[in-house]
Symmetry: C2
Subunit: 489 residues, 2 copies
């Protein structure tokens, strides 16, 4: 053959090869869409068993399973110690009189949600004879079994039960059915509290755009909330707005108190995790970025683009997250994040120490005969201060999501706590107290827990019995009902 003919053959071969590649890609995509149509047929409504979804969405499922992996640590997360009370014994003092002072650990991936609530000292050691101590509302954000049960028994009935009532029902960790419609796979809101909060704001959540939904499914749980009334009805305190002052004004109006502080007698507001609220006040949300854009970036496998369900810190995966928009190097971007975190952490540290001090100082005044009327304005200052500390500290990622808001709130908190000390000094003066205030030793978690009168040996022993005797029964029952298929739990 002549050289020219060879060239024609070579080009032809390349074209045919290309067509083959294209055909393969089309077939892969078709196979994927067949999965989708099978999903429409085979998944049950309220399917809470995450494993049931694997067949239809293998990539999403496989990446979701990786949420069990919590090895990634950014700068301000200690690598070898998830016990935050051990890292920061002041927090034991701030929560004196509340279950958080017993046990508070670093957050872990969704796969651990049920495990962690069961093992936490905060949920105590209920048995058939000793119910509670927490209401069933505590389960609300832990599992796709919750919408299933709510559908079965009714929302209010679910909330007002005891936490231990649903030990054999709520067994699958946060997963597919929490955010997805079983038929269409569309993002969907399964928790009533968010829908109700929107309704009270005069908004219809079903009108949300897909991009909004990529944050709103997270906002079902990653928010500030409280348990309203005797039925412990899960409620978002957003009626006056989402800033720390707005939520405080809401709570003040209804005279809400989470607990009376054991040392200072301050009527404390305990913040949950106002992640969505604070995120919305930061520049990323203001520029239309959703939670999923950074925490669940798009990935590609073979011919298929899908959303990475290994929800994690964007720093673990910067080429797919930050660098989609920002052209700077990983090193520069990481430095930008750490700088914001450093600044917020520094203020938090100052405020945390100051708050521990004023709680003890208030106790000192009570012990020396201070009167209700003189103490009231001081207790209000401490309440305001601790609320601001908690709003930022409890919020995952606040220091990056909204650094200037976080600094503002913590600086205000520090101001109130310093004012409280000044006012207590004046009162000490006025009362002519001759005793001298001294801080007790709270340099370790154990010392701090002793200082607030906790019997941790007893707490641990009871929990151990609960884990040994009660939990296996719960899991066995769940298996019998077909709710639990994984080997691990």
């Amino acid at each position: 053959m002549k050289r020219k003919n060879w060239l024609v053959v070579a080009i032809l071969a390349l074209v045919v090869f290309g067509l083959g590649m294209l055909a393969n890609s089309i077939m892969q995509r078709r196979a994927e869409s067949q999965h989708l149509s099978r999903a429409e047929n085979n998944l049950k409504p309220f399917e809470s068993v995450n494993e049931a979804w694997e067949e239809y969405y293998p990539r999403e499922y496989q990446s979701w399973k990786q949420t069990a992996d919590t090895t990634f640590r950014s700068k301000h997360m200690s690598s070898n110690n998830d016990d935050l009370l051990a890292q920061r014994p002041e927090m034991v003092i701030l929560w004196a009189g509340y279950a958080f002072s017993k046990d508070y650990t670093a957050p872990r991936g969704h796969m651990h949600a049920v495990d962690d609530i069961v093992h936490s000292l905060r949920t105590g050691a209920p048995s058939d004879t000793s119910k509670g101590p927490q209401p069933s509302t505590c389960w609300t954000c832990k599992s796709p079994d919750v919408p299933r049960m709510m559908n079965q028994v009714g929302v209010e009935n679910f909330y007002k039960a005891s936490w231990s009532d649903y030990g054999s029902e709520v067994v699958n960790p946060i997963g597919c059915a929490d955010c997805h419609d079983h038929k269409t796979m569309n993002l969907t809101i399964t928790r009533p509290a968010l829908v109700e909060a929107f309704q009270r704001e005069g908004k219809d959540i079903t009108k949300a755009t897909h991009q909004e939904m990529r944050s709103l499914v997270c906002a079902q749980c990653h928010v500030e909330y409280y348990f309203k009334g005797d039925s412990k009805y899960l409620t978002f305190p957003w009626d006056k707005g989402k800033k720390v002052e707005d939520v405080e004004a809401y709570y003040d109006t209804i005279n809400h108190v989470d607990f009376i502080h054991k040392l200072s007698r301050v009527p404390i507001l305990k913040a949950q995790h106002p992640d969505f609220e604070l995120f919305q006040l930061g520049i990323h949300a203001q520029r239309g970025v959703s939670c999923a854009d950074c925490h669940m970036p798009y990935k590609s496998q073979g011919g298929i683009k899908y959303t990475d369900h290994h929800i994690s810190s964007p720093l673990a995966n910067m080429n797919n997250t930050c660098q989609v928009c920002h052209r700077e190097s990983e090193g520069v971007l990481t430095q930008n994040v750490y700088e914001r975190q450093d600044y917020v952490f520094d203020l938090r540290n100052k405020l945390e120490k100051q708050l521990a001090k004023v709680h003890f100082q208030a106790k000192f005044l009570w012990d020396n005969g201070a009167q209700e009327a003189s103490m009231k304005p001081i207790l209000q200052l401490i309440r305001k201060s601790q609320w601001r500390w908690d709003y930022i500290t409890a919020s995952h990622g606040a220091s990056f999501h909204a650094p200037i808001e976080s600094q503002r709130v913590l600086a205000d908190g520090l101001y109130y706590a310093m004012l409280a000390e000044t006012n207590m000094n004046s009162l000490t003066d006025k009362m002519k107290i001759t005793a001298t205030f001294a801080m007790p030793d709270i340099s370790t978690k154990a010392k701090a827990q002793t200082a607030i009168g906790l019997d941790m040996a007893k707490e641990h022993a009871a929990k151990e019995q609960f884990i040994k005797n009660v939990v296996p029964q719960w899991l066995q029952k769940a298996r019998q009902k077909g709710l639990l298929v994984s080997a691990k739990n």
Copy 2:
């Protein structure tokens, strides 16, 4: 003619018209470059008369003249009151014992630089018989006559003269020769302090890129500085870094004190205007944006692209500044700026009031017999606090240039001032002082100035005489020397 021929003629006409346009544009550009070559020939070295540059750079000159226009006001600049001491009488207290407590007004455009320093009460009322009260160093940033004089008399001799010595020499406001080489029109550094600071850092400023120079020409003056030694040698305190703590460490090392506070006896550090330092800590500088990018954006007139020399707030001109990079609307971007400013202003307000309080409280302790040794750590806290307040407050645009840094520094300042109060309460207690501390009335500028013992009537009268008798002589001499050609001054 046939229709087709008409078409050919029409196309030809269009092409010819286009060529005409192109030729005109080329000619305009050539005319411009002829201006440039004439500039190389006709401008003298150290040409301080700004009007001499007009012929060669009409667009730059005309826009520079507009710096006289200071009508634009952003949210936090009062529209009808440039007297900042009247707006914030606490500032009178903070500067008790220093000339700033007499007169402090909102910054105005470069065109007013000489006028403003001459009219300020801070420069007093010198005459032939009463020199000073300020050193000649105060002129350094006010005029292109300064590099001219430095060249003539030597840098150190210039600094160590009296301010009044150069009243008939320094007469042209900040202009062309301050930043431009008279031959090449390249950006150039005319002030020794910046060059020397670079040298001490081991850097050669002549190696700076053009983009760096678009900030460095501003950094000749928009920085923190002090007058070193008996010759009042203008020096930038950057040897340990540019953060507020670095500069403080530098000043602490050399035991620098700007003034002893008249009430509290605190050895105060007065911040100048660390604009460049704080700008560098913000995200815009970190992303390579220069001062000129936002304050002197490119403009186009006819065929010529030039730099707008009407230096002003980027908010006055957002389509040429912010919106070159940011696609958001003016409304949204303005809101983003104001939010940052609001947060910083709120902290500043708190700190300013608290500082005024602790100065009086320290005086109260001195008046009641407090000892040097007990007061020293308290005075140090106030020094640290006021330094932080001033570093942010004195810096133009800090709240936007570096919002998270500004919040951090002010929050630290507030913390120190609150600690000072707490410690003074303890000391009052310990000293068993029976008198009660009360804040004097400082609700107006006049009341605050009376509270620190200023005789403002005397100050104003002397200044009036100076303006009436001395200044006209200075200007007349300057005209005779050919230094001053404008009608106004």
